[in-house]
Symmetry: C2
Subunit: 184 residues, 2 copies
């Protein structure tokens, strides 16, 4: 959702800021509405030849699970800069062939944009430089394995997973996603 401009920030958290505003209802009365704003995130699928890479990740309080590489935007960054930084930190990969696959609005009563990128023709430039809050195995998969993992129930992001599931049910869309991932 989009938080109205006149909304007031009533709490500033380490990730979540809470906003409130007086909202006029259908009968002319008003009510305090509330929503969350959080930093945008990026998700990246790196590609080398016919191989795609997923993160097999362990975080505190969570069981090990497949996710996309990526993370939250830092202050002053643009989404593509966040994507390049996160990919390098989490995989050691660099690419000069980036493309935005799709933008998502995630969450509910939450202003949270998410940018889903492909990084084609990656080169390994460095080792991983992980935060102390992540353990990441860079996992190589082919396109069929990629679809199976990402569209499975319980995949990290149900929204992005469901987008890929819908895409996979439509031949044209699937072929266009494949083209985006592997290049023309």
């Amino acid at each position: 959702m989009k938080i109205p401009k006149h909304a007031k920030r009533v709490f500033k958290g380490v990730i979540h800021d809470v906003y409130q505003w007086d909202q006029e209802l259908f009968d002319g009365s008003t009510q305090t509405f509330e929503a969350i704003r959080r930093p945008y995130t990026v998700q990246i699928v790196p590609v080398i030849g016919k191989k795609l890479f997923l993160s097999f990740e362990k975080q505190p309080l969570k069981s090990q699970t497949y996710t996309f590489f990526g993370g939250r935007g830092d202050k002053g960054e643009k989404p593509i800069q966040t994507a390049k930084r996160e990919l390098l930190e989490e995989t050691g990969f660099v690419s000069s062939d980036w493309e935005l696959i799709r933008e998502f609005q995630l969450g509910f009563k939450t202003e949270w944009r998410s940018y889903f990128y492909v990084a084609r023709d990656c080169k390994k430039q460095a080792g991983q430089k992980l935060d102390a809050g992540e353990q990441i195995q860079v996992t190589e998969v082919d396109f069929d394995q990629f679809l199976r993992i990402v569209t499975s129930e319980g995949f990290w992001s149900s929204q992005i997973g469901c987008y890929i599931l819908r895409t996979s049910l439509n031949k044209k869309k699937l072929s266009s996603l494949k083209k985006k991932l592997f290049g023309r």
Copy 2:
């Protein structure tokens, strides 16, 4: 997610409470983790004969869209009581044949349970009693229309929509959902 017991509530909102705690990371260092707790919600599919009902709903700041009937739990309520109250308010229906179809954990870094009910063999007992923040058209659909609307991209809850989409792709699961909705 489940917020740890020792987490501290650092903000109390009208819907969203924010919790923080010191989380030990993999290298022994600690970091402030943050998560949201919000009241559970219920979703209800009322059924009369071979007809299902969806809410075609307008809320402030949102465009009119199909949703399930339902809403947030009030203090001291149990989910089934919330479901009975919301169904009566939003449709005027009562039922003596309720069944929980499935429980969901919605959101991200958020403790938000959701209970998805069927109310079979509904009887119209009263008129709608809507909040000033909702305009609801009770919309009758058959099972195929139901599937089409609920599994379409952009449906109100991508998570529940995706659950139904997955179900619809598996003959056995689809037939079991149909049985649950219409009774044996």
